[in-house]
């Protein structure tokens, strides 16, 4: 094919314009930030993050009960810090995956839906810069939303409940200052898994080109994670799950803090972030941006494939759930619940106005086991704590058994409950006649599973 020279209307081209000095990624970042801020979904998310904790606190105010199933749940009326931690626990399970999906799940697929890839990619920015700017903007908003939720939940807790000391996960009282610091650090720790979910949402968005898949995908993964947490005794698979880092802060609230799960799960989050973003970039880099006729929209085909692969993956993970060392054992549970029982019993006595000498210890012998099951792994346990109380005139003491039904999770956290016949009612009167939570009624604790 030969080409023909054509008459032209000007002798010389217009001069090349000057170029800007700023980086390409940053210009995309600014544009994406502006787009996100203009979207109704982002604004609703921000509103939910601010108003959500207030609404939760308002509901608790009009209810006599407490969200006892959640870690620190029985303390929401006793310390403002507990309210923030309950919000954090819920957000880690469902709130953050939903937030990541809504925020980032449509980040790339929206360009397909609006047909704007061809608009933005025909300006001065490369695919690399577009990808980098979008990722950066999504991450920024995700961090900002976590920050909003943290501040809102702390504010509402401190305003409506107060800055009272918090009963830690070893039964010891944490001073308001220490509790405040630990709550802030806990929210900070949650940023990494939030970014992991955000990266996952972006992967769904890039791979499926469907906003629906991008938004729902992270929630389905969160659901799968919750289910997988219930299956298997091995610690390996559970630690590799994307949401595992949401549990990392638990170890900070014990008398002897443990950091192993925090370090491992944070590393796991980083791996998820890198893997998801790498996969997203590989897909985007190789993609041809052709006009997609309605009959050839790839969204649902890929979505179906993703779902099929996910089901297989979940099945494999469930089978592999018993792999690796067992995190929940009778010895670890006993070693955690025994000193905790000691601490909260003394705390209860303090509430009754009794003087507890420094370093006082109960003489407790405990045993933990499971009915009809191997005493290993998460699930329902029973712990019996025999308290030996010296009695004047008795030889040598009286034995008071206290039985707790303990529900242990794969992350090593547990909730122990005992019938009122053993430990009294949920609400008791303190020395000043105030109605307060009986610390023995529901006991929260966590131990290191590594």
């Amino acid at each position: 094919m030969t080409t023909t020279s054509a008459p032209t209307r000007a002798a010389s081209p217009a001069p090349a314009p000057a170029t800007r000095a700023h980086g390409g990624v940053w210009s995309v970042y600014r544009a994406e930030r502006r787009k996100l801020a203009a979207q109704l979904s982002t604004r609703l998310l921000a509103l939910t993050c601010v108003v959500g904790p207030f609404a939760f606190a308002a509901i608790l105010q009009v209810q006599s009960g407490t969200p006892a199933d959640a870690l620190f749940g029985v303390w929401v009326h006793s310390s403002g810090f507990a309210l923030s931690l309950v919000v954090l626990g819920f957000a880690g399970s469902w709130g953050f995956p939903l937030m990541a999906g809504v925020l980032a799940g449509d980040m790339f697929s929206a360009e397909d839906r609006y047909g704007t890839w061809k608009t933005v990619l025909t300006r001065s920015r490369s695919r690399e810069e577009m990808f980098g700017g979008k990722v950066l903007a999504a991450m920024t908003f995700a961090v900002a939303l976590v920050g909003l939720t943290a501040l809102s939940s702390l504010l509402v807790g401190l305003v409506l409940v107060g800055d009272q000391s918090l009963v830690g996960l070893s039964g010891a009282l944490l001073s308001p200052g220490r509790a405040f610091l630990l709550v802030l650090v806990s929210w900070l720790i949650s940023v990494l898994p939030v970014l992991a979910y955000t990266s996952l949402a972006m992967l769904f968005s890039v791979a499926s080109r469907s906003g629906i898949v991008g938004v729902i995908g992270p929630i389905l993964v969160a659901l799968a994670t919750q289910l997988l947490d219930l299956i298997g005794r091995g610690v390996t698979v559970h630690m590799l799950l994307i949401g595992s880092a949401f549990d990392g802060w638990h170890g900070l609230f014990t008398t002897h803090p443990f950091y192993g799960p925090l370090v491992v799960s944070s590393l796991v989050s980083v791996i998820w972030i890198v893997a998801c973003l790498s996969a997203s970039w590989m897909i985007l880099r190789r993609r041809d941006f052709i006009g997609t006729p309605a009959t050839h929209r790839p969204g649902w085909t890929i979505a179906v494939r993703v779902v099929a692969v996910s089901i297989v993956l979940i099945a494999l993970l469930a089978i592999a759930g018993n792999r690796g060392p067992v995190g929940v054992t009778a010895a670890r549970l006993r070693a955690s619940i025994t000193p905790e029982f000691n601490n909260i019993t003394l705390l209860q006595q303090q509430l009754f106005g009794r003087t507890i000498p420094p370093g006082a210890q109960l003489d407790v012998v405990s045993s933990c086991g499971r009915h009809g099951a191997t005493p290993r792994g998460p699930g329902d346990w029973t712990c019996t704590l025999d308290v030996y109380i010296p009695q004047p005139g008795k030889v040598p003491f009286t034995q008071t058994p206290v039985a707790y039904d303990v529900s242990v999770q794969s992350n090593g956290c547990y909730k122990a409950e005992s019938p009122p016949a053993y430990v009294g009612q949920q609400m008791i009167r303190d020395a000043q006649g105030h109605s307060v939570v009986n610390p023995l009624f529901v006991v929260y604790g966590c131990f290191d599973t590594l």
Partner: protein, 323 residues
């Protein structure tokens, strides 16, 4: 004129599964040239524009825009290049102005016209603050042209830029593009309707089934064109047909709807009409159906193998049916 053309594409091939959407296309567009990229729907025009924009990657061949390769870092190849493929698309939840601001953020070029200027130029200044979701197709088209102008382009790649525009809008675009070309801007204008671009372009590249079937200047195309086709209504159509047989350069016949169609070579129409009058045949209507370039375009882009055997007026009829 600089030695490096605005567009130089050589041996371009793009396959989609088993289909060769672009099959060995060569294309050169010089600075200040307005080249029409013509072809029926599915000929590969939009795919070629997508290749030039770097939206799809060629399976073979090379592309050079304003002297830069598309694989150059930081999208250097797209600096100074503007336009759109298919219909211009924007974020519907943002205003037209906000969309342009956002696109300007993604541009490296400075010193070009302001957003107000380009909105004014495409007659959208009064609707600039409205959300794009409320824009008509024509308004989006005008916003697409505004977005292209915002870059102070040295090369404009436009896909059916007058599609969806009202006549006034189409005329405005028709006036704007030559003005840009006069300033040295190279323009590649894609269309499936040669009538829309034949008066604008200096040169044409005609595509069929992903291949270049004709490439040359407007003058060359005119020279090879078969002639204009007219619909003729008289008080005695049979005599009019008979008189046509006696006039070289005039071919006449009846279309399927019974209307008499004549195809005339340049300079042969007036003698034929005068002859009709002298023979007592009153001409009641003489309406141009297909321009010479439209007939030529149809001949070049038709898939029918028997196209060469058609009489000129039959060719015109088929071209008319296409348009």
């Amino acid at each position: 004129m600089p030695a490096v053309p605005a567009v130089r594409a050589t041996g371009l091939v793009k396959r989609y599964e088993q289909t060769r959407a672009i099959d060995g296309v060569d294309l050169v567009v010089q600075h200040g040239e307005m080249r029409g990229l013509l072809g029926p729907n599915g000929a590969g025009k939009s795919t070629l524009l997508r290749l030039l924009f770097g939206l799809v990657r060629p399976d073979a061949g090379s592309i050079e825009l304003l002297g830069s390769l598309p694989d150059a870092p930081n999208s250097l190849a797209l600096q100074g290049v503007a336009g759109f493929v298919e219909d211009p698309s924007f974020y519907p939840y943002l205003s037209g102005r906000a969309n342009l601001e956002l696109l300007a953020e993604l541009d490296d070029e400075t010193g070009g016209p302001s957003i107000d200027d380009v909105l004014e130029r495409v007659d959208l200044a009064h609707r600039g603050d409205d959300r794009v979701s409320g824009y008509s197709t024509g308004m989006r088209q005008r916003l697409g042209i505004a977005a292209a102008l915002l870059r102070s382009p040295r090369l404009l790649l436009l896909d059916e830029p007058t599609s969806g525009l009202d006549p006034a809008g189409a005329r405005a675009v028709g006036a704007l593009l030559p003005e840009l070309a006069t300033q040295g801007v190279a323009v590649l204008l894609s269309s499936h309707l040669i009538g829309e671009v034949e008066h604008l372009c200096d040169s044409f590249t005609v595509l069929r089934n992903g291949r270049v079937v004709w490439n040359g200047t407007a003058r060359q195309l005119q020279g090879q064109a078969p002639g204009s086709a007219y619909a003729l209504a008289t008080n005695d159509d049979d005599r009019a047909l008979g008189i046509a047989d006696d006039h070289p350069g005039v071919s006449a016949g009846r279309l399927q709807n019974g209307v008499v169609a004549i195809t005339v070579e340049e300079g042969c129409l007036d003698p034929y009409v005068l002859a009709l009058g002298q023979s007592g045949v009153a001409v009641r209507r003489l309406e141009q159906l297909v321009s010479p370039l439209e007939s030529m375009f149809f001949a070049l882009t038709s898939d029918e193998t028997s196209i060469d055997q058609l009489k000129p007026y039959e060719l015109a009829e088929k071209a008319l049916a296409r348009t």
